[in-house]
Amino acid sequence: MVAPAPVAATVGVEEFFTAAIGRALELGLASPEDVLAYATPEVLAEHLPREEWTKLLTACLGAPRTDARLVVDTVTVPVLCEHVPFGILWACLAKLATRALGRGLVAPPPSIAPPPSIASPPSIAPPPSIASPPSAPAPSVSAPPSPSSAAASASVTTPPPPPAARKSEPVSATSPSLVAAAPSVPEPLLDVDQARVPEPAPLGDPPSPPRKESPGATSRNLIGARRPQASAPAVIPPRKADLKTQPPQPKRASTATDFEIEADLGEAWKKAGADPEPVDDDQLIDWSQSEETMTSGESQDRKR
């Protein structure tokens, strides 16, 4: 509470206020309305000299519209700071600083507050998704100053919290939307799984017998019933049996290659039927001797 610094001269204080308030207006941290909220017409009437009032009245009369910007632009910040009492200027500056600091301080808390209220309905997914984004901005301002600046922030922020709290509300309103989006995501995923299930069903009828061939892998059958169904080799054996009795025409779609093969077979049969006489016993004996070839390639020989 000692006052080591020399008491500021009037000119120095004026220039300080001029720089502080003027810069705030330039940077958009303050508006002319903020200035006139303290430098009210009554204050100006009491402290502004007649010369400045003459300028102001002239400007207002000549302008199509009279507003705070016109007043501040006409009187100018240096003139305001020269004539308006420092206490009023300080009150204006303190409010600007409070508001500026309040934005940074209050912004993080609102973002953190909504998660608990939202977390109650959707217990699992929302909390992590929401907690991460708000945590980032908070430390930038509030975390470092905590030790020494706590008192300062308290002294400064206590008066203006209402506007900050209002600003926090829209933030909380946005966060629930994010949370609402999170639970909606898993639902379509479930639909996708359900959509996949019905697909393998038609394939399940033919491949069911091959599953019985490997009873040891029960876990595989339980886990991925689709894969064995889709596997081609499991379907092949019944097709061989079908080949002996009936051609696999119904299952396969007719293609150009199939027609060619059938045409070849038809010609072979025709050729074989056309030459019944040339068949000899020697030839029959040759065919019967090679049983291995008969077992392994009956279908192939027939096709050929």
């Binding site: 080591p4 610094a5 500021a8 001269a9 120095g12 600046s149």
Partner: protein, 99 residues
């Protein structure tokens, strides 16, 4: 916009306050304590502060503020600390409060 503008604004106020002798470097360091500086200044700036002090043979508030300029303060130090410094100076000068 708001953060950058606020930084510029506090830099202006700190510079103006020092220039107009509303507060002195010692007043600044009374709020921007060594703990605050150590916790917020980047290592390279800490190195500069120490190097300048070693070269001069002493670490004075004026010398610290030669490196930790108002612009640096507004960028790295909590603005609450800076405002506390300004408010305290205004209170000492008797310009904070009534007319």
């Amino acid at each position: 916009m708001s953060i950058e503008a606020r930084q510029r604004w506090f830099a202006t106020m700190m510079e103006s306050g020092l220039t107009q002798q509303i507060f002195a470097p010692a007043d600044v360091l009374r709020h921007a304590t060594p703990e605050v500086l150590a916790n917020n200044l980047p290592p390279e700036l800490m190195s500069k502060v120490l190097a300048a002090s070693l070269a001069a043979g002493a670490m004075t508030p004026e010398r610290v503020l030669e490196t930790v300029t108002p612009d640096v303060m507004s960028r790295h130090l909590p603005h609450e600390v800076l405002w506390d410094c300004i408010a305290a100076a205004a209170e000492r000068a008797g310009i904070a409060g009534g007319r």
